[in-house]
């Protein structure tokens, strides 16, 4: 059922504006749950809409299971999409909303109701079948939207910030549900998010998009600890980027939680010490360089103090400075 998604050289440039997508390369193997992350305005939603057929690309191919989809109208692509807001039909019941793809495909009423009912049960909303959608909470509505997307039996499921409008508790429940349903069907899945924690939790692989290009696509751990460029490092929170004389032509990245405070040979002055509940965020001045660190509140030094610290060698990651990267840095 599930198919591989392969995007090559995709350009989307609405007339009269600067290109939103500038040569996107992305491959998601069949059955994988990939997350597309990136700052606001990077072009994530546009990429998802182009894959679904809601935006016309100026160049490039979008292949699903080996066949190019660029000329195929949106309603003939074997894909389903969950939008940021649930987009339910206000005049129809919950069950009729879920059955919409079946109705569009010409499935008979009895069969339609049976299949939609099964989907409703899978998202844990069986009791809501005959309800109107007006009374649903945000989380319930998004579950209905998810059931509707799965009802189409797609080969590819696209989710555009599906958790963005939910409170943390509901977000966690829906996140689990998405992962569970995706794994049960081994459905190829591309999820857009701007939240890096959500990206790490949801993605079996993680792609970062910046200014209309995919800059790195790897497993979450590699992305977080071995970023390919400064922009990747910065987005995923490896906020200490150091250019040291001992390492010419490279940038050393280290995550704030990996900076060791209270031991070692290096000395720094504490500029800021901000209490964040479970941790204290420190900003250090080290020979004119700003270094960010996270530390247990019990061990936190006050602002103005001089402390010993260390940059553990095994936690340092050297980013090679390529021409492309310098180009990106200049435009930021």
């Amino acid at each position: 059922m599930s198919a591989e998604l392969r995007i090559e050289g995709l350009v989307v440039a609405p007339p009269g504006t600067t290109p939103v997508l500038r040569g996107v390369e992305l491959a998601v193997p069949a059955g994988e749950r990939a997350v597309l992350a990136g700052p606001s305005g990077a072009g994530k939603t546009t990429l998802l809409r182009a894959i679904a057929g809601l935006e016309d690309p100026a160049a490039g191919t979008i292949a699903l299971g080996g066949s190019d989809q660029t000329g195929v109208p949106a309603h003939r692509r074997r894909m389903a999409m969950v939008f940021q807001d649930p987009r339910l039909l206000p005049h129809a019941s919950v069950l009729d909303n879920i059955a919409l793809p079946l109705r569009a495909a010409g499935v008979k009423r009895a069969e339609r109701r049976r299949l939609a009912g099964e989907q409703l049960e899978e998202v844990g909303m069986a009791a809501f079948a005959e309800r109107r959608v007006a009374g649903l909470s945000g989380g319930e509505a998004q579950r209905v939207a998810l059931a509707r997307a799965l009802c189409a039996e797609p080969e590819l499921l696209l989710l555009d910030e599906p958790l963005a409008a939910l409170d943390p508790r509901r977000r966690e429940a829906l996140r689990r549900l998405i992962a569970e349903l995706q794994e049960r069907r081994s459905l190829t899945c591309l999820i857009v998010t701007h939240d890096r924690a959500e990206a790490a939790e949801l993605g079996q692989s993680l792609a970062l998009m910046i200014e209309g290009r995919i800059v790195q696509h790897d497993d979450p751990r590699t992305i977080f600890e071995r970023p390919a460029t400064r922009a990747v490092a910065r987005f995923f929170g490896a906020s200490n980027l150091l250019e040291l004389p001992e390492h010419p032509g490279r940038v050393l990245a280290i995550r704030p939680e990996h900076v060791a405070i209270g031991s070692g040979t290096l000395r720094a002055t504490v500029l800021e010490s901000v209490y964040r509940g479970t941790q204290v965020a420190l900003a250090l001045d080290w020979q004119g360089r700003r270094i960010e660190a996270l530390i247990d509140p019990a061990d936190a030094p006050a602002a103005g103090a001089t402390i010993a610290f260390e940059l553990p060698a095994e936690r340092l990651w050297a980013i090679p400075q390529t021409a492309d990267e310098r180009d990106l840095e200049l435009r930021e």
């Binding site: 679904a52 309603h75 003939r76 987009r87 039909l89 005049h91 793809p101 569009a104």
Partner: protein
């Protein structure tokens, strides 16, 4: 639900104010004899309605008006739909100007508009025909239909249509399952107004129709000569309007 004293007084008062002219009309229509100083009619009877249908030809006029009204309404909705969509979603660079051009006929006296059209209709062979009257009515019906319909084409409708596209619905399925149900209250309001505008056309019908009777055409001469017949005709005139209003009000109950 408890009602405030203000509401308890205001609601019946509003009904009374609206009902008063209607009551007088009803009294007039059934007053076979109503001598000058009397506040109430002296004798009630069916004379007004008998004369209206036998002498004034209210039956034929009613049928004509209904047929013309329904055709004009249907045409206005079908023709106005794409125009309203384009204007409602502001897809054109000079949206305001095009809207103004569309509304221009409303500024013209109906008889003049009809008079101008007659010249043209004679050459096209459309004069003295129901089709000609329907087209002439459209001059006024269409702008109203468009003005109301365009308010229904919101960004929300776009979003729902997009969702339906990705869900596998082609254009016809989208229209049937998403767009029309979403716009139902707007369509009802547009249809109601379109029907009422056509229903009350006098000047255009007179100019184009070459004496073909519709209700306003047969009613007006009686206003001076025989108020009872005029009142009876007015009630015949009013009934389909109330029916249309009731139907539209029912269709209004739809959320979006």
């Amino acid at each position: 639900m408890s009602r405030s004293p203000a509401k308890r007084v205001a609601a019946p008062l509003a009904v009374a104010l609206l009902a008063l002219p209607l009551t007088v009309l009803v009294a007039q229509a059934f007053a076979d004899v109503w001598r000058a100083p009397g506040v109430l009619p002296d004798e009630l009877g069916w004379r007004g309605f008998e004369l209206a249908f036998e002498r004034a030809g209210a039956g034929e006029a009613l049928l004509n008006s209904v047929v013309i009204g329904l055709l004009a309404t249907a045409l206005a909705l079908v023709v106005g739909w794409p125009a309203a969509r384009v204007l409602g979603q502001r897809l054109l660079p000079r949206n305001g100007l095009i809207f103004l051009l569309l509304a221009l006929p409303l500024l013209m006296p109906p008889y003049l508009a009809g008079f101008g059209l007659t010249e043209w209709f004679i050459r096209l062979g459309l004069d003295d025909s129901l089709a000609g009257i329907v087209l002439a009515h459209l001059t006024f019906v269409l702008p109203y239909a468009i003005v109301i319909l365009l308010s229904g084409f919101t960004a929300r409708v776009d979003e729902l249509e997009e969702m339906a596209r990705v869900a596998g619905a082609g254009w016809l399925a989208r229209l049937r399952l998403v767009t029309v149900p979403s716009l139902r209250p707007t369509i009802a309001a547009a249809a109601l107004l379109a029907f009422l505008v056509s229903w009350s056309q006098y000047g255009t019908t007179l100019a184009v129709g070459a004496g073909r009777p519709t209700l306003p055409i047969v009613m007006l001469p009686f206003v001076r000569t025989d108020p009872q017949v005029a009142a009876a005709l007015a009630l015949v005139f009013l009934a389909p309007c109330l029916l249309a209003l009731a139907l539209a009000a029912r269709a209004q109950r739809s959320p979006l």
